[in-house]
Amino acid sequence: MFPSVRQAMAWLHTWFGLVLGFVLMAAFFFGALSVFDREIDRWAIPATRIQAQPMPSYERVLRPAFERMQPTRQAIDAMRPRVDGPMPERYDTVGSWSAYTTHRDPVLQLFAGYVVPNARHAGELVWAEATIDPRDGRLLPDDRLKVGSGFFFPMHYGLTLDWKHLGIWIVGLSALVMLAALASGVVMHRRIFREFFTFRPGRARLRSVLDLHNLTGVVALPFHFFFALTGLLIFAAVYYFPLGHTQLHGLHDLNAQVEASETGLPHERAGRPGGLANVDAMVADAQRRWADDGKAGDVGFLVLQHVGDANGYVSVYRAGTDRIALVGDGIHYKAATGELIREDPAATPVARMAEFLTGLHLQHFRHWLLRWLYVLGGLAGAVCIATGFVFFVEKRKRQHAKDGRQGARVVDALAVAAVTGMVLAALGILVANRLLPEDLPGRADWERWAFWGTWIAALLHAAWRSAPVARALPNPAWREQAIAIGVLALAAVLLNWITTGDHLLRTLATGYWPVAGVDLSLLAVAAIAGASALRLARRHAAHAAGPAYAADAEARHA
């Protein structure tokens, strides 16, 4: 097909990189933002600007909160096609109640799964979610969008395209293509070790762009490779290779039965009612056992299974704050009596590897330096892809201008939308978050519209201004959107001050880092955008002084 392996790899890298690079930009950029998703949530929902809280008492706080929960209209409607028969108004047979928290969470998310009578798949549950203030169990209103963990994070792994999980599939294919792009990039890069530190910004544009592309790709190669790989593995069993629920469900069910009998944790309800002993006492006992094992820790995950049934049990898991694994060291108690059923034994080597691989991606650990290094890695990946687009356009625009073709122009406009446009969209939702009235009904939907609207506007602007590219000149949209980024970022900081009073001097003085961090990052974005706009303006002036001048300047630097 291709004359050589290197040329095959070059074709693959160029064309798959171009087409799926747009998706990968989103995955890397929103992934970088997701490192601090809970901090962005606090900026976006001022009512939650409190300190991070530990798992609260079940008896005092959680039980009344759980008892008030019911599945939403949407959850019930989504369930309807999988039910043969009428669906009840109220759901009182609880499959499981659970609460999950990390050291960065000021508010607590509760999950409740209810048994659905007449469900086609026996045992399938309909779910409800709630967010409460852990100090008093007060429910937080439903339509406060968690811009970080509830929008940027799902954007990162699924583009918020939920229809038949299409977005998750697209991102999954992109992740695989990322791995292929890394492998093919290494094959194409002839001097990978000698040019490891090479970046020559003074040279001709094509050379310096390629240098930066290679640098950001190679220097963080382990990061890029492992994040793409572990991202695929996290969703493998549920979405990409769901063999346990399809081809191999026989083995899956066999295993569930064996596990239930080995561990003493019943898989099914008994059908007889059972009481619930003091859960706080069980949690305290679990914490004592961890401390005895030299692993004193906080509760990360609390699950009550088969609530109200004789087979009910309570599981307490330790938060993996000090290590990569998310939660572990589960201890299980019989719900009716509080007696110990089982302490989870040390994980198998394969399970430990699985915990390490998924944990390194999902980051529930406490390590601020590592988090910021992750942001650096994510941004390096975004720069790698962005410079890939710029290189593609620069390499072809002169030839396309001569041939009267529009290809370079189209790619350039799409690249503007994918790079500066995407940043603008993220800023747009933050600005809208502060501008919209606090109790606007459907506020979350308005915020999402602000995001997509800003992005579409950026795309239209980029397309409208892209005519010069067809004459081998730069697209002014890059500079104009850089200016817009500076303006929006500053606006977001000012609006936070005006609407909440939590200006930088106050948040820095009280040491409230979540909000101070977001504001400082926004200021940094504004500064970088402003500096970029200035540099682009200077380059524009050189081009405007005449193509001969610009070409001469380039030749002198080459």
């Binding site: 097909m1 291709f2 790899m9 074709w11 695989l176 593995l233 493998a236 026989g250 083995l251 394969v350």
Partner: protein, 107 residues
């Protein structure tokens, strides 16, 4: 001597485009089929050998993703397009068959 279709540049380009499209489909669909088959075969065999199901599933998924990557790259490097389809689709089906067979022995 009479001229054939491949003497005309436009039909040659058309033929090349079809070949390329076939390789792209083989890389994506064939690669996925092969990966699925590998996950099925290795998960069932490892479970049969005594590993816990979830452990076997995870390890098999790791193998599957890496195999998908290799299959994807090979699809563009291989000389013969039909061979790519045969190995990836055919191999995937065979491996998937092994997975179901092992399951049938245990359940």
């Amino acid at each position: 001597m009479s001229r054939t279709a491949s003497d005309f540049p436009s039909t040659r380009r058309h033929g090349q485009r079809l070949q390329l499209a076939s390789r792209v489909l083989a890389a994506i669909l064939g690669g996925y089929a092969f990966a699925w088959g590998l996950v099925a075969a290795s998960a069932s065999l490892m479970f049969a050998a005594g590993m816990g199901f979830h452990d076997a599933e995870f390890l098999a998924s790791l193998a599957g993703v890496l195999a998908f990557l290799l299959a994807f790259l090979w699809a563009f490097v291989a000389r013969r397009g039909w061979l790519v389809w045969a190995v990836l689709a055919g191999g995937g089906a065979l491996l998937a068959g092994i997975g179901s067979f092992v399951q049938s022995l245990l359940v």
